[in-house]
Subunit: 220 residues, 4 copies
């Protein structure tokens, strides 16, 4: 099934009560389209969103460190108890060491949570696939927030990523992100072999996020 | 007024619903003792705790980056809208660059939130005081979680910190932490010039946190 | 005495044998002008420069960690034995935590080496001064490499930094940097109370670095 | 050919002139044994060692950032011009993000230098192999500096790493490290499929490093 993940980052339009509204738009469009649309609010909003809206909730990051003396860390049981069912790992705005990526993935898997490792090019996508996450999300950093869709600007990076992942494992699904917001962006991504997309400003900063999501899925 | 801040770190005993229980113990002992006892839960628990318990809630960390493309960051408005009234900055388990400390402090001040900069020795305490936070919390890293109270093991670091801060500004209050858990620890800290304490495992990992808090304040 | 420090960064024009040429320019203009002009080459060039040219050589960074299992770290004895007499600390391109800044400063002082803590605004300058380094170098990050001299664009940040440092200690000298390259820039900086300047691209990327240095000191 | 790489870390016994002595021991034992023995001194010692001793010299780390405003960074051309022929990447004491590992590897390859990516377990070894470095060096962090050889304590991590790498690419050679110092350690490593070893304290902190190296290669 196509998987769409909407990253709230620290946008004011998706903080606090606004995160709840964004989550409701995800739920509504998911129901009307039959596609899975998940949301990744800020940590302080996880509980509020998961309690209020029936939608898959992801964390934007998780640390591999467990229970204990880890002030300020994102503990997997903390996000799980707040209602998260998965997490982004290694987003370009929250890069981790290779050892940390592997550890964060492990703690998600131990807790039966879904994992999305973000990468920046084909080589790092292959490396991430060697760790067997549920998803690898390839996002060329120079296109993030640019309004230029990766599926238009650099279709080859998507198809090459899909090929590179397939060579290494059959389980991991490739998502793509950076500049995705319109129906043709998602359609192109799927045609290039991606299993879904990672979204942010294109939807969240639009005047009507629900309408933007409806546009996104309109060609599927 | 004496200020006691209980840091939940990522202890299982203070995660999710347990964070709410810990917060209730803080509230109860604060009411019975007349001292201010605040709690610093994990980010995903801020909303849940602040909604459920009438107690000052602090974040364990805050980033200076504002609204925008900061996936995984701790946005000051996110923690504020979740109910936090202040934040730790630069805890020994979440060290920041000097520029980040100053920025995190600035965003708290702009949002009229309380600030606690953590430091590791007298020199860094003086440096932190030069930034004019509400509190500087001196915690010798080697004593954190040790069960040996800083006020017993190294009273001079507290009194020297108090002196160093006074030379630089008259507003900032010195807290001390590391190994504090008993009535005599708090009493000694106050006699050395501290305005309060930062606590964690000594209370949270005790069999009865409420009783432990009652013991802590029993000699004041 | 006026102190001028030329940072080679990782410019090709100041790498390897080019670093030796740059150092010779510093030595020559220092001798002709009577001002102290030091150079901060890359770590692999410290020995080569210090062996070949009679000029004060600084490292661009030093770690506080000592001898031992610190692969890839900059060990104070390593840079000292290579001929360095001091080091930058916390350059805006190599930010450190407050605890690390204090530790790096300590190891320099224990080894009787000179210290320059870089800062980004008046508040962090005051904090750095509370640690008692030999120099604090205030460099507004937005002006670094801009070609716009801080002494013209933001003279107040220099005079305020000088005032802030004086309130905290009488020993630390304020340097300023960012965009400095001409005679009037240095003159203005000294008139605002700075004791010298930190330089980089304005000299190193000029067609004739020696002539550029001569221009810099021409109004003193 | 068996490849032995001796990491000087920041040991006093391998700093400055001592690094030259250590390098000479590597050269002598390499000549008498016919095995390749390379040395990785600290950055300030690269030029001194490479100028004085005919031995392959590696850097302990290299940054992917190129020429420019990267104060304190390890520029690939800087280490190359100082005489290095390769570099460690992502040592457990200098961990990098996945994106940085890939970039550091790229700049080494562009400069025709040899690359050793360090990893901590089988999963991260597979991920590193997906980037196609010359070597992956698996070092369980808990055994580093322990005096307990990985080839005795955890032979399976070596053979599993060799298998994992072979599945992903045929070019990358597996090294192993952590606690290696004796002839039987090296022999066991090679029998488990490793192509060589990464060494440090076991040799450098021995009374007679040359004799220790002779012992290391004595069973090959």
């Amino acid at each position: 099934m196509v998987f769409i993940l909407l990253n709230c980052k620290t946008y004011d339009e998706a903080t606090g009560t606004n995160a709840v509204s964004i989550a409701k738009a995800c739920r509504d469009v998911s129901e009307s389209s039959g596609l899975e649309i998940a949301v990744a609010p800020q940590f302080p909003d996880l509980f509020r969103v998961a309690s209020a809206v029936k939608v898959p909730v992801f964390a934007q990051h998780v640390d591999g460190s467990g229970a204990g003396s880890y002030t300020g860390s994102i503990y997997v049981k903390g996000i799980k108890e707040a209602g998260a069912v998965g997490s982004l790992i290694n987003h370009s705005e929250k890069r981790l060491t290779l050892a940390e990526i592997e550890k964060s993935l492990s703690v998600l898997q131990e807790n039966k949570m879904r994992s999305v490792i973000c990468t920046n090019n084909v080589a790092t996508t292959a490396a991430a696939a060697a760790l067997f996450p549920d998803y690898v999300a390839i996002e060329p950093p120079e296109l993030i927030g640019s309004g230029i869709a990766v599926s238009t600007a650099n279709p080859k990076i998507i198809s090459d990523s899909v090929d590179a992942v397939k060579k290494i494992n059959k389980k991991t699904v490739v998502l793509c992100g950076a500049g995705i917001s319109k129906g043709e962006d998602l359609k192109a991504a799927l045609e290039l072999g991606a299993g879904g997309v990672l979204l942010a400003s294109g939807i969240i900063k639009s005047k009507d996020p629900k309408a933007a999501l409806e546009g996104l899925v309109s060609l599927i």
